[in-house]
Symmetry: C2
Subunit: 258 residues, 2 copies
DNA sequence: AGGTGCGTTGCGTTGAACGCAACACTCATT
DNA sequence: AATGAGTGTTGCGTTCAACGCAACGCACCT
């Protein structure tokens, strides 16, 4: 909507690919060098962009700090965290919490597996939306038309032979997931990794987040992982209860409300 | 430099404080509602801002994802991480990695203590710059005039009785730290928490990052913590060697480079 | 000296961002 | 049902700020 801001913001994802010099930025934006310079300078003044010693620009520290605050403002995260930890203590596997936001699903919290073999993922990283169990739960809860719109807009990369191949199949899977109230991903993203996931719901019943337990085949088989489903669902329900205010939060009164 | 972009970017820290509605944003920016709306819309289109169900705006997911990429681009972090983990395995305490960037010091990596009593800190969070051991190391390496400029610009909050009280004292401490090549913070930030830190240097000898081990008094006394100094320095040196390319990196070839 | 490849500056032009005022909508209140 | 207060939204005419240009400075090469 606002040309100048639009251009300035477009610089950031561009720099996320790696440091770039003025000329490159100008070219990729399709603007004159002087224009790019002015934009970069304003970004710099705000700390969103950092000028490293070789004069090239890269993303700045303020961005990281801001994202941090953004996450701390997500109260689901705050509430869910102790539950995730407890779940991890009970089963030992990697536990994730994810939310959906405008065509993206991203992990907002993670408790690392206690087994030596760990899966790769990072808080803040967008999830493989077409296959991840948490993504299925979050998308399954969207209103019919929006869900369809998103599903058709997506790419369907074939990570493995069991990846969701196209919108058709995805929508069918979403319907099933919505129906049964939980989801799984058996080797759809990485051949040897399985997940089971359950939804966290707000007071109105809408899905506000989803949590999952993931483990590689070498640690537990898919069947064994599925036996954890009741536990995962109980945990998710506990978070839902607390989040929607039904459960009057029964831990230390020292807990502040920031 | 660029008014429009400047205004747009100013919205983000404002939203970091918590969700805000259009009116509030407009007021805090000192612009007309319609202007604020236009800016928010462009931010929204880029995913930097999210409109929650109650119509208020808060920081968006793209911001979190971007920050993630920003951190992954920091190659010190990538290199240092396994060393931090090993150090943590050896001593059990919380290990931090921090960098300096334009008047701020922030944690870019952390390995959690294995003791039940943990300290509060988060990756991405700006560090208490006037007292933290890592901050001292990073600032001590700045060129004389810049160091003085920064020191005088800072606030000196008295977290505890042992916090650095003013620029004078801080500069003196920095000189000492620069001299000895390591730093400590004995209860300067939180009464019962102590840290020891050592610098990571690039090929040119400049300090590019700093790492620290922190532990509360209840776990080890300050004296005991200081006995870890040689270990911390060795670890920092190992990272330095690898970062500056002196050590030809000798871990599993399976390690991917993502 | 000459040349090349950067980033930077000053400036005149123009169109994009501005504030305004009217409008639409949702809730309370009466 | 009508009124009003509080929102967010739209269209528009004015103006000022962002634009591209071209000239410049600077470092590095040869």
């Amino acid at each position: 909507m606002s040309q100048t801001v639009d251009r300035a913001l477009s610089i950031l994802p561009l720099l996320a690919e790696g440091p770039a010099d003025l000329g490159t930025v100008a070219e990729r934006l399709g603007v004159h060098k002087s224009t790019a310079l002015r934009l970069l300078r304003t970004l710099h003044d705000h700390g969103f962009v950092y000028r490293q010693s070789d004069q090239r620009y890269r993303l700045g520290a303020r961005l990281i700090a801001l994202a941090q605050e953004a996450m701390e403002n997500l109260d689901v995260r705050e509430i869910a965290h102790p539950h995730l930890v407890r779940l991890n203590e009970q089963c030992g596997h990697t536990v994730h919490l994810a939310v959906y936001e405008e065509d993206e699903v991203l992990y907002i919290d993670k408790v690392e597996s206690r087994y030596p073999v760990r899966m790769y993922s990072r808080i803040g990283k967008p999830v493989a939306i077409t296959v991840a169990a948490v993504a299925k739960l979050l998308l399954a809860d969207l209103p019919e038309h929006e869900r369809r719109a998103v599903a058709e807009k997506l790419d369907y990369p074939l990570y493995t032979a069991r990846s969701t191949p196209h919108a058709e199949a995805f929508l069918k899977e979403l319907a099933k997931v919505g129906e049964q109230g939980w989801a799984s991903d058996l080797g759809g993203h990485e051949e040897s990794i399985n997940c089971v996931a359950a939804p966290v719901r707000g007071a109105d019943g809408r899905v506000v987040a989803a949590m999952s337990v993931s483990a590689p085949n070498v640690v537990v088989t898919a069947d064994e992982l599925l036996t954890l489903l009741p536990l995962v669902r109980r945990t998710a329900d506990a978070i839902s209860g607390e989040y929607s205010g039904r459960t009057p939060v029964q831990h230390h009164p020292a807990k502040d409300t920031r």
